[in-house]
Symmetry: C2
Subunit: 193 residues, 2 copies
Protein backbone atom coordinates (compact mmCIF):
# COMPACT_ATOMS: atom_id res chain seq x y z
CA UNK A 1 0.00 0.00 0.00
CA UNK A 2 1.17 3.53 -0.71
CA UNK A 3 1.07 6.39 1.81
CA UNK A 4 -2.47 7.45 0.91
CA UNK A 5 -3.96 3.95 0.93
CA UNK A 6 -2.41 3.36 4.33
CA UNK A 7 -3.87 6.58 5.66
CA UNK A 8 -7.34 5.84 4.27
CA UNK A 9 -7.27 2.37 5.83
CA UNK A 10 -6.30 3.94 9.17
CA UNK A 11 -8.41 7.12 9.29
CA UNK A 12 -11.04 6.90 6.53
CA UNK A 13 -14.63 6.32 7.66
CA UNK A 14 -17.19 4.56 5.49
CA UNK A 15 -20.74 5.93 5.66
CA UNK A 16 -23.99 4.76 4.12
CA UNK A 17 -24.58 5.84 0.52
CA UNK A 18 -21.02 5.11 -0.65
CA UNK A 19 -19.63 8.08 1.24
CA UNK A 20 -15.97 7.84 2.27
CA UNK A 21 -15.12 10.44 4.89
CA UNK A 22 -11.49 11.51 4.78
CA UNK A 23 -12.01 14.92 6.32
CA UNK A 24 -9.54 14.28 9.15
CA UNK A 25 -6.56 14.38 6.76
CA UNK A 26 -7.63 15.25 3.18
CA UNK A 27 -10.43 17.78 2.76
CA UNK A 28 -11.28 19.65 5.96
CA UNK A 29 -8.31 19.06 8.21
CA UNK A 30 -5.38 18.66 5.79
CA UNK A 31 -2.18 16.74 6.48
CA UNK A 32 0.15 18.68 4.21
CA UNK A 33 3.08 16.32 4.86
CA UNK A 34 0.93 13.55 3.37
CA UNK A 35 0.23 15.84 0.38
CA UNK A 36 3.98 16.22 -0.07
CA UNK A 37 4.41 12.44 -0.23
CA UNK A 38 1.55 12.26 -2.71
CA UNK A 39 3.26 14.91 -4.82
CA UNK A 40 6.47 12.87 -4.86
CA UNK A 41 4.50 9.81 -6.02
CA UNK A 42 2.83 11.74 -8.84
CA UNK A 43 6.22 13.20 -9.81
CA UNK A 44 7.41 9.63 -10.35
CA UNK A 45 4.30 8.57 -12.25
CA UNK A 46 4.41 11.61 -14.56
CA UNK A 47 8.19 11.54 -15.01
CA UNK A 48 9.17 12.74 -18.48
CA UNK A 49 5.97 14.74 -18.94
CA UNK A 50 6.44 18.37 -19.78
CA UNK A 51 4.15 19.95 -17.17
CA UNK A 52 4.15 23.74 -16.68
CA UNK A 53 0.86 24.26 -14.82
CA UNK A 54 -1.46 22.52 -12.38
CA UNK A 55 -5.23 22.96 -12.67
CA UNK A 56 -7.63 22.12 -9.86
CA UNK A 57 -11.08 23.14 -8.64
CA UNK A 58 -12.16 24.82 -5.43
CA UNK A 59 -12.28 24.09 -2.61
CA UNK A 60 -10.92 20.66 -1.61
CA UNK A 61 -8.53 20.39 -4.55
CA UNK A 62 -6.63 23.57 -3.73
CA UNK A 63 -4.61 22.35 -0.74
CA UNK A 64 -3.41 19.19 -2.44
CA UNK A 65 -2.68 20.99 -5.72
CA UNK A 66 -0.68 23.74 -3.98
CA UNK A 67 1.62 21.36 -2.15
CA UNK A 68 2.00 19.15 -5.24
CA UNK A 69 2.84 22.27 -7.30
CA UNK A 70 5.86 22.84 -5.06
CA UNK A 71 7.11 19.36 -6.03
CA UNK A 72 6.61 20.12 -9.74
CA UNK A 73 7.84 23.72 -9.37
CA UNK A 74 4.90 25.14 -11.34
CA UNK A 75 1.99 27.51 -10.57
CA UNK A 76 -1.54 26.36 -9.75
CA UNK A 77 -4.73 27.67 -11.31
CA UNK A 78 -7.94 26.82 -9.54
CA UNK A 79 -11.33 26.83 -11.24
CA UNK A 80 -13.85 28.91 -9.32
CA UNK A 81 -17.40 27.87 -8.65
CA UNK A 82 -19.05 31.28 -8.62
CA UNK A 83 -18.57 34.42 -10.61
CA UNK A 84 -16.77 36.93 -8.43
CA UNK A 85 -17.05 40.65 -9.07
CA UNK A 86 -13.24 40.63 -9.08
CA UNK A 87 -12.97 38.47 -12.21
CA UNK A 88 -12.75 40.10 -15.62
CA UNK A 89 -15.12 39.23 -18.43
CA UNK A 90 -12.98 36.86 -20.44
CA UNK A 91 -13.36 33.43 -18.94
CA UNK A 92 -13.58 29.78 -19.86
CA UNK A 93 -16.86 28.45 -18.48
CA UNK A 94 -18.24 24.97 -17.90
CA UNK A 95 -21.02 23.48 -15.79
CA UNK A 96 -20.26 20.90 -13.11
CA UNK A 97 -22.65 18.81 -11.03
CA UNK A 98 -21.49 18.02 -7.50
CA UNK A 99 -22.04 14.53 -6.10
CA UNK A 100 -21.41 15.77 -2.56
CA UNK A 101 -23.57 18.87 -2.61
CA UNK A 102 -26.24 17.68 -5.08
CA UNK A 103 -26.18 20.89 -7.07
CA UNK A 104 -24.84 22.38 -10.30
CA UNK A 105 -22.20 25.09 -10.46
CA UNK A 106 -20.82 27.18 -13.24
CA UNK A 107 -17.09 26.75 -13.07
CA UNK A 108 -14.81 29.42 -14.48
CA UNK A 109 -11.13 30.04 -15.25
CA UNK A 110 -9.82 33.37 -16.46
CA UNK A 111 -8.48 33.18 -20.02
CA UNK A 112 -5.39 35.05 -18.83
CA UNK A 113 -4.19 32.00 -16.90
CA UNK A 114 -4.56 29.19 -19.42
CA UNK A 115 -3.63 29.19 -23.11
CA UNK A 116 -2.51 26.97 -25.97
CA UNK A 117 1.11 26.91 -24.75
CA UNK A 118 0.15 25.25 -21.47
CA UNK A 119 0.85 21.61 -20.58
CA UNK A 120 -1.47 20.89 -17.72
CA UNK A 121 -1.57 18.39 -14.87
CA UNK A 122 -5.08 18.24 -13.43
CA UNK A 123 -5.22 17.47 -9.69
CA UNK A 124 -8.30 16.77 -7.57
CA UNK A 125 -9.17 15.01 -4.33
CA UNK A 126 -11.97 12.69 -5.51
CA UNK A 127 -13.09 11.02 -8.72
CA UNK A 128 -16.50 9.32 -8.70
CA UNK A 129 -18.80 9.91 -11.68
CA UNK A 130 -16.21 12.31 -13.08
CA UNK A 131 -18.34 15.43 -13.61
CA UNK A 132 -15.85 17.83 -12.04
CA UNK A 133 -12.96 16.25 -13.96
CA UNK A 134 -14.84 16.39 -17.27
CA UNK A 135 -15.45 20.09 -16.61
CA UNK A 136 -11.73 20.71 -16.01
CA UNK A 137 -10.79 18.80 -19.17
CA UNK A 138 -13.34 20.90 -21.08
CA UNK A 139 -11.69 24.08 -19.78
CA UNK A 140 -8.22 22.89 -20.85
CA UNK A 141 -9.73 22.11 -24.27
CA UNK A 142 -11.33 25.55 -24.54
CA UNK A 143 -7.88 27.04 -23.91
CA UNK A 144 -6.31 24.88 -26.63
CA UNK A 145 -3.93 23.63 -23.94
CA UNK A 146 -2.75 20.03 -23.47
CA UNK A 147 -3.78 17.68 -20.66
CA UNK A 148 -0.48 15.95 -19.82
CA UNK A 149 -2.00 13.92 -17.03
CA UNK A 150 -4.56 13.68 -14.27
CA UNK A 151 -3.71 13.01 -10.65
CA UNK A 152 -6.56 12.01 -8.36
CA UNK A 153 -6.18 11.25 -4.67
CA UNK A 154 -9.10 8.84 -4.26
CA UNK A 155 -10.99 7.21 -7.13
CA UNK A 156 -14.21 5.38 -6.44
CA UNK A 157 -13.49 2.45 -8.74
CA UNK A 158 -17.07 1.17 -8.53
CA UNK A 159 -18.31 4.33 -10.29
CA UNK A 160 -17.75 4.97 -13.98
CA UNK A 161 -15.73 8.23 -13.92
CA UNK A 162 -12.26 6.71 -13.99
CA UNK A 163 -13.01 4.14 -16.69
CA UNK A 164 -14.47 6.80 -19.01
CA UNK A 165 -11.37 9.00 -18.62
CA UNK A 166 -9.02 6.06 -19.27
CA UNK A 167 -11.12 5.02 -22.31
CA UNK A 168 -10.59 8.54 -23.66
CA UNK A 169 -6.83 7.93 -23.52
CA UNK A 170 -5.79 10.18 -20.67
CA UNK A 171 -3.04 9.15 -18.25
CA UNK A 172 -5.08 9.03 -15.06
CA UNK A 173 -3.11 8.29 -11.91
CA UNK A 174 -5.33 7.72 -8.88
CA UNK A 175 -3.23 7.12 -5.78
CA UNK A 176 -5.99 5.06 -4.16
CA UNK A 177 -8.71 3.26 -6.10
CA UNK A 178 -11.51 2.03 -3.86
CA UNK A 179 -13.14 -1.02 -5.47
CA UNK A 180 -15.66 -1.53 -2.69
CA UNK A 181 -16.52 -0.40 0.78
CA UNK A 182 -18.94 -1.54 3.42
CA UNK A 183 -20.50 0.89 5.88
CA UNK A 184 -21.60 -1.93 8.21
CA UNK A 185 -18.10 -3.36 8.74
CA UNK A 186 -16.04 -0.29 7.77
CA UNK A 187 -14.11 -2.41 5.29
CA UNK A 188 -12.42 -0.67 2.34
CA UNK A 189 -11.03 -2.75 -0.54
CA UNK A 190 -8.38 -1.10 -2.73
CA UNK A 191 -7.62 -2.11 -6.32
CA UNK A 192 -4.14 -3.63 -6.73
CA UNK A 193 -1.88 -1.17 -8.61
CA UNK B 1 10.11 45.86 0.25
CA UNK B 2 9.53 42.21 1.00
CA UNK B 3 8.79 39.53 -1.61
CA UNK B 4 5.03 40.08 -1.54
CA UNK B 5 5.16 43.89 -1.72
CA UNK B 6 7.52 43.63 -4.68
CA UNK B 7 5.15 41.24 -6.43
CA UNK B 8 2.10 43.42 -5.78
CA UNK B 9 3.95 46.46 -7.12
CA UNK B 10 4.86 44.47 -10.25
CA UNK B 11 1.68 42.47 -10.96
CA UNK B 12 -1.14 43.89 -8.81
CA UNK B 13 -3.83 45.85 -10.64
CA UNK B 14 -5.83 48.62 -8.98
CA UNK B 15 -9.50 48.83 -9.96
CA UNK B 16 -12.22 51.32 -9.11
CA UNK B 17 -13.95 50.74 -5.76
CA UNK B 18 -10.76 49.99 -3.83
CA UNK B 19 -10.35 46.63 -5.53
CA UNK B 20 -6.80 45.28 -5.74
CA UNK B 21 -6.57 42.45 -8.23
CA UNK B 22 -3.82 39.97 -7.41
CA UNK B 23 -5.37 37.02 -9.20
CA UNK B 24 -2.32 36.44 -11.40
CA UNK B 25 -0.23 35.21 -8.44
CA UNK B 26 -2.30 35.03 -5.22
CA UNK B 27 -5.92 33.93 -5.52
CA UNK B 28 -6.77 32.45 -8.91
CA UNK B 29 -3.42 31.64 -10.45
CA UNK B 30 -1.19 30.89 -7.45
CA UNK B 31 2.59 31.26 -7.36
CA UNK B 32 3.37 28.64 -4.73
CA UNK B 33 7.07 29.53 -4.64
CA UNK B 34 6.01 33.01 -3.50
CA UNK B 35 3.79 31.37 -0.85
CA UNK B 36 6.86 29.47 0.37
CA UNK B 37 8.79 32.73 0.79
CA UNK B 38 5.80 34.21 2.62
CA UNK B 39 5.77 31.20 4.93
CA UNK B 40 9.44 31.71 5.73
CA UNK B 41 8.73 35.37 6.58
CA UNK B 42 5.85 34.44 8.91
CA UNK B 43 8.03 31.75 10.49
CA UNK B 44 10.47 34.52 11.45
CA UNK B 45 7.75 36.88 12.68
CA UNK B 46 6.10 34.17 14.81
CA UNK B 47 9.36 32.67 16.06
CA UNK B 48 8.99 31.35 19.60
CA UNK B 49 5.23 30.91 19.27
CA UNK B 50 3.95 27.45 20.03
CA UNK B 51 1.83 26.84 16.92
CA UNK B 52 0.35 23.38 16.26
CA UNK B 53 -2.38 24.17 13.73
CA UNK B 54 -3.19 26.61 10.95
CA UNK B 55 -6.77 27.79 10.41
CA UNK B 56 -7.95 29.43 7.20
CA UNK B 57 -11.15 29.88 5.21
CA UNK B 58 -12.12 28.67 1.76
CA UNK B 59 -11.33 29.26 -0.97
CA UNK B 60 -8.48 31.74 -1.49
CA UNK B 61 -6.88 31.12 1.90
CA UNK B 62 -6.35 27.40 1.34
CA UNK B 63 -3.43 27.52 -1.09
CA UNK B 64 -1.41 29.97 0.97
CA UNK B 65 -2.20 28.18 4.25
CA UNK B 66 -1.22 24.78 2.84
CA UNK B 67 2.20 25.90 1.65
CA UNK B 68 2.79 27.87 4.85
CA UNK B 69 1.79 24.81 6.90
CA UNK B 70 4.71 22.92 5.33
CA UNK B 71 7.05 25.60 6.70
CA UNK B 72 5.50 25.30 10.17
CA UNK B 73 5.17 21.50 9.91
CA UNK B 74 1.57 21.53 11.16
CA UNK B 75 -1.82 20.56 9.66
CA UNK B 76 -4.30 23.03 8.18
CA UNK B 77 -8.00 23.25 8.97
CA UNK B 78 -10.10 25.28 6.60
CA UNK B 79 -13.47 26.76 7.55
CA UNK B 80 -16.15 25.84 5.05
CA UNK B 81 -18.71 28.23 3.66
CA UNK B 82 -21.56 25.81 3.12
CA UNK B 83 -22.86 22.86 5.01
CA UNK B 84 -21.85 19.72 3.18
CA UNK B 85 -23.82 16.51 3.54
CA UNK B 86 -20.47 14.92 4.39
CA UNK B 87 -19.99 16.91 7.60
CA UNK B 88 -21.18 15.49 10.90
CA UNK B 89 -23.52 17.40 13.19
CA UNK B 90 -21.04 18.77 15.69
CA UNK B 91 -19.65 21.99 14.31
CA UNK B 92 -18.52 25.44 15.33
CA UNK B 93 -20.57 27.94 13.37
CA UNK B 94 -20.21 31.65 12.67
CA UNK B 95 -21.58 34.07 10.09
CA UNK B 96 -19.28 35.98 7.75
CA UNK B 97 -20.06 38.77 5.31
CA UNK B 98 -17.96 38.82 2.14
CA UNK B 99 -16.67 42.16 0.82
CA UNK B 100 -15.90 40.58 -2.55
CA UNK B 101 -19.12 38.69 -3.10
CA UNK B 102 -21.51 41.02 -1.22
CA UNK B 103 -23.22 38.16 0.60
CA UNK B 104 -23.34 36.41 3.95
CA UNK B 105 -22.18 32.85 4.56
CA UNK B 106 -22.44 30.52 7.47
CA UNK B 107 -18.91 29.33 8.12
CA UNK B 108 -18.32 26.02 9.85
CA UNK B 109 -15.49 23.97 11.34
CA UNK B 110 -15.97 20.45 12.65
CA UNK B 111 -15.46 20.22 16.42
CA UNK B 112 -13.26 17.17 15.81
CA UNK B 113 -10.52 19.36 14.32
CA UNK B 114 -10.20 22.18 16.84
CA UNK B 115 -10.17 21.96 20.63
CA UNK B 116 -8.85 23.65 23.76
CA UNK B 117 -5.37 22.15 23.35
CA UNK B 118 -4.83 23.90 20.03
CA UNK B 119 -2.51 26.85 19.47
CA UNK B 120 -3.65 28.36 16.22
CA UNK B 121 -2.09 30.52 13.54
CA UNK B 122 -4.83 32.06 11.40
CA UNK B 123 -3.84 32.63 7.76
CA UNK B 124 -5.81 34.46 5.07
CA UNK B 125 -5.17 36.27 1.81
CA UNK B 126 -6.92 39.60 2.48
CA UNK B 127 -7.90 41.73 5.45
CA UNK B 128 -10.20 44.68 4.78
CA UNK B 129 -13.10 45.26 7.16
CA UNK B 130 -12.12 42.08 8.99
CA UNK B 131 -15.40 40.15 8.89
CA UNK B 132 -13.87 36.86 7.79
CA UNK B 133 -11.08 37.18 10.34
CA UNK B 134 -13.49 37.99 13.17
CA UNK B 135 -15.43 34.85 12.23
CA UNK B 136 -12.29 32.72 12.39
CA UNK B 137 -11.33 34.21 15.77
CA UNK B 138 -14.86 33.44 17.00
CA UNK B 139 -14.46 29.81 15.92
CA UNK B 140 -11.13 29.50 17.77
CA UNK B 141 -12.86 30.99 20.81
CA UNK B 142 -15.76 28.56 20.59
CA UNK B 143 -13.21 25.75 20.64
CA UNK B 144 -11.48 27.17 23.71
CA UNK B 145 -8.29 27.18 21.66
CA UNK B 146 -5.64 29.93 21.61
CA UNK B 147 -4.97 32.36 18.76
CA UNK B 148 -1.16 32.53 18.72
CA UNK B 149 -1.07 34.87 15.76
CA UNK B 150 -2.66 36.02 12.55
CA UNK B 151 -0.85 36.10 9.21
CA UNK B 152 -2.46 38.10 6.43
CA UNK B 153 -1.02 38.44 2.96
CA UNK B 154 -2.52 41.83 2.04
CA UNK B 155 -4.12 44.23 4.51
CA UNK B 156 -6.06 47.21 3.25
CA UNK B 157 -4.69 49.67 5.79
CA UNK B 158 -7.27 52.31 4.91
CA UNK B 159 -10.07 50.05 6.19
CA UNK B 160 -10.62 49.41 9.87
CA UNK B 161 -10.17 45.61 10.11
CA UNK B 162 -6.47 45.54 10.99
CA UNK B 163 -6.66 48.32 13.58
CA UNK B 164 -9.54 46.61 15.40
CA UNK B 165 -7.64 43.31 15.57
CA UNK B 166 -4.47 45.03 16.85
CA UNK B 167 -6.54 46.99 19.42
CA UNK B 168 -7.83 43.63 20.69
CA UNK B 169 -4.22 42.62 21.38
CA UNK B 170 -3.63 40.02 18.70
CA UNK B 171 -0.25 39.70 16.96
CA UNK B 172 -1.34 40.49 13.42
CA UNK B 173 1.39 40.21 10.80
CA UNK B 174 0.30 41.49 7.40
CA UNK B 175 3.07 41.03 4.84
CA UNK B 176 1.83 43.96 2.77
CA UNK B 177 -0.24 46.83 4.18
CA UNK B 178 -1.72 49.00 1.46
CA UNK B 179 -2.25 52.51 2.82
CA UNK B 180 -3.68 53.90 -0.38
CA UNK B 181 -4.17 53.06 -4.01
CA UNK B 182 -5.29 54.98 -7.04
CA UNK B 183 -7.15 53.31 -9.89
CA UNK B 184 -6.46 56.22 -12.26
CA UNK B 185 -2.66 56.04 -11.96
CA UNK B 186 -2.33 52.43 -10.74
CA UNK B 187 -0.24 53.69 -7.81
CA UNK B 188 -0.09 51.53 -4.65
CA UNK B 189 1.39 52.98 -1.45
CA UNK B 190 2.58 50.49 1.17
CA UNK B 191 2.91 51.22 4.87
CA UNK B 192 6.51 51.19 6.10
CA UNK B 193 7.10 48.11 8.30
Amino acid sequence: MNCLEERIAKDGVVKEGNVLKVDSFLNHCMDVSLFKEMGAEWKKRFAGKNINKILTIEASGIGIASVVALEFNVPVVFAKKNKSINIDGDMYVTEVESFTHKNKNQVIVSKRFLNSDDHVLIIDDFLANGCALQGLISIVGQAGATVEGIGIAIEKGFQSGGQIIRNLGYQLESLAIVDSMDAATGTITFREQ
